[in-house]
């Protein structure tokens, strides 16, 4: 095909999609909230996110004695910003807002910000339970981050590229979830842990009265909780280009398949929370280092051998 005139196809979406992206994610998050309310058996589930948002918008903000308010508020603000920046490399259909050659690394770098953010919120309140919550998330990071990195690197390995559009193209024949099921499962588990969601919600657990978020009210709580939901939605959406073939699928356009697959992954994550009790840090760190990391490494090794064999 070398003789054909090369028409450079723009890999990224036009610039104004950067403005549309927060709106899209917001709508996705709103729907996820409704889904969770339905799962929890709430009455008027469709109204729950609206009522909650209204409640927090009119709520008074609080400060605590000798708290580091600036640190805490920066921490809360970092969560939604990190989620949005991570979503920039997410192919919405066929193309992402920013088609970075190191998309996988960018995504990982952005989500790691959550680690700092939750700790800053917990520390900033000068409150013992907040501090415990913040440190729980640091411990949780020690448990989830390594298996998580091995899982996403396995997908990059399978496509021999860190560019997400290339990873999607590499799955035209076979979705990566079929070649690397262990990496997919590890990714899902660590996605929940990263958004301190589901069985990994100890950092904001009931037993410590809300943990890192214990002193947050009003718009501070809205930003923190909203950021956490955005993070969950983005982490679920990233499973689609990494393991589920991106926008590939019959009949429907690519963007619709991305939406459908993201919704399916989100539903799985919502179900996780209802199915399992909170996994405490002392047990999860042990499980992650003894079981998840060896499994993830073995998976990466197997995929590496397949790639080498195919080359």
């Amino acid at each position: 095909m070398g003789e054909m005139p090369v028409v450079p196809e723009p890999a990224a979406l036009p610039w104004w999609w950067a403005l549309l992206l927060p709106v899209l994610l917001g709508v996705g998050t709103w729907l996820a909230l409704v889904g969770d309310a339905v799962c929890s058996g709430e009455r008027a589930a469709f109204a729950v996110p609206g009522r909650e948002a209204a409640r927090l918008l009119v709520g008074q903000r609080r400060r605590t004695v000798a708290g580091d308010t600036v640190l805490g508020r920066i921490g809360g603000g970092v969560l939604p910003v990190a989620a949005l920046l991570a979503a920039a490399v997410l192919p919405l259909g066929e193309r992402p807002v920013a088609d970075l050659s190191v998309g996988v690394v960018w995504f990982n770098a952005m989500e790691v910000l959550a680690w700092a953010a939750v700790w800053m919120v917990g520390w900033g309140a000068n409150s013992a339970l907040g501090l415990v919550g913040g440190y729980r998330f640091v411990a949780q990071g020690l448990a989830y981050e390594l298996p998580h990195m091995f899982a996403i690197i396995t997908a990059a390995l399978g496509a021999a590229s860190l560019r997400l559009t290339t990873i999607v193209d590499a799955q035209q024949d076979l979705w990566f979830v079929a070649i690397m099921p262990v990496a997919f499962v590890v990714y899902l588990v660590s996605a929940a842990a990263m958004a301190f969601w589901g069985p990994f919600d100890a950092p904001v657990g009931r037993d410590v009265a809300g943990g890192a978020a214990v002193e947050l009210s009003g718009v501070d709580r809205l930003v923190f909780a909203g950021g956490r939901w955005l993070l969950l939605v983005v982490a679920a959406a990233m499973a689609v280009p990494l393991f589920l073939g991106g926008g590939a699928g019959p009949l429907l356009p690519a963007w619709a398949w991305v939406a459908v697959k993201t919704a399916a992954v989100l539903a799985l994550l919502l179900w996780l929370r209802h199915r399992f009790p909170t996994v405490r840090m002392d047990r999860y760190v042990e499980f992650a280092w003894v079981v998840l990391i060896p499994l993830a490494i073995a998976q990466a090794l197997a995929v590496a051998l397949v790639v080498l064999g195919g080359a």
Partner: protein, 345 residues
């Protein structure tokens, strides 16, 4: 159009309610929790998360002081209901929702709250070491590291790993989610490890203990709290629904058996509660006994459930545990603080 008024009205449809359980008023607490479940109003995790503060019962002087301190920490818009009797729970909650939606009232409250600067902003240290819901650093009188904003710094002390770490004096309770009524456990924390603990029940006195209509209802109440602490909200909600049904006189045997099966079958829960000692027994055994009692296999409640005695022994069980385990132990033992004798504490 008045946006604030609109938001207040929308928000008042589903306020978060912080329920303060008063020892000796279990019946009122149960009525409040059932009313909240009927309305679909969530139970708040702490004052920061609350719109309505509902005091279930008439609190004695010690608890009343704590409740006032907690009320100071609830951000506006807010409403407080003191429920002394069983009958008017619904009316009071209705009135609280109306108050939350009342823009005139809430506007003045917001302004005064900001102006007085003391109420929500914690700009003065609170008095008494069991004020508040235990979230703040409560430093005792002997800080050696100077002071910050009038509060003494935490003093360092040796920890279990031979390090020197800060010691925080933190009261757990009496206003904590899924926590026994009126119980306060003052702990010294290093990181999240409990180094010292002493337990106490506020306003211990001659209260008429609540007569549970059925043993399964009582054990379901305890199970709901335990599952709540274990972070299994869907199973905890199921236990609470069944408890309310049992108290209404419905037959729940089949559903209770299904819940017991669900909890017993959860390998994750077993893995999580395994190997946490609680005196002569452990948390897993206490949970198993509670599940048996729900099934009606053994009617007798665990012998640790003997009011004040249990509260004092409880403190010894917590020393050396991590905060998450400590909460599980308290929830598993679940001391009946209604049955505390006068003259102690």
């Amino acid at each position: 159009m008045d946006l604030t008024a609109l938001l207040l009205r929308v928000a008042a449809r589903r306020p978060h309610v912080l329920v303060v359980a008063v020892p000796g008023a279990t019946a009122v607490r149960l009525a409040v929790e059932a009313a909240l479940a009927r309305r679909g109003w969530p139970i708040a995790t702490g004052p920061a998360d609350a719109d309505v503060l509902a005091v279930a019962g008439s609190s004695g002087p010690e608890l009343a002081a704590v409740v006032d301190a907690v009320w100071e920490q609830v951000p506006a818009p807010r409403a407080r209901v003191d429920l002394a009797a069983l009958a008017d729970v619904d009316e009071h909650l209705e009135a609280a929702a109306a108050l939350l939606a009342d823009v005139e009232r809430q506007r003045t409250e917001v302004v005064s709250g900001n102006a007085s600067h003391g109420a929500h902003d914690h700009s003065r240290p609170r008095q008494g070491d069991h004020a508040g819901h235990g979230a703040h650093h409560q430093h005792h009188h002997h800080g050696h590291g100077g002071t910050v904003a009038g509060l003494p710094m935490a003093e360092p002390g040796p920890d279990r790993d031979g390090l020197t770490l800060d010691r925080l004096h933190v009261p757990l309770g009496p206003v904590l989610p899924d926590w026994p009524a009126g119980l306060v456990v003052r702990v010294t924390l290093q990181g999240d490890v409990v180094q010292e603990a002493s337990a106490d029940v506020l306003d211990a006195g001659p209260a008429a203990p609540f007569e549970w209509p059925s043993a399964p209802a009582r054990e379901l109440d305890g199970l709901a709290r335990f599952l709540g602490v274990a972070g299994w909200s869907s199973a905890a909600g199921q236990a609470r629904r069944l408890r309310d049904a049992a108290l209404d006189g419905d037959r729940i045997e089949a559903e209770a058996a299904a819940l017991v099966r669900r909890v017993r079958r959860s390998r994750t829960l077993r893995w999580l509660v395994r190997g946490i000692p609680a005196g002569p027994t452990d948390v897993a055994a206490l949970l198993a006994r509670r599940l048996d009692a729900i099934e009606g296999v053994s009617g007798a409640s665990p012998e640790l459930q003997q009011g004040h005695l249990a509260a004092i022994e409880l403190a010894d069980l917590l020393v050396g545990t991590e905060l998450a385990s400590a909460r599980l132990i308290v929830a598993a033992v679940d001391p009946d603080t209604d049955r505390v004798e006068a003259g102690h504490g």
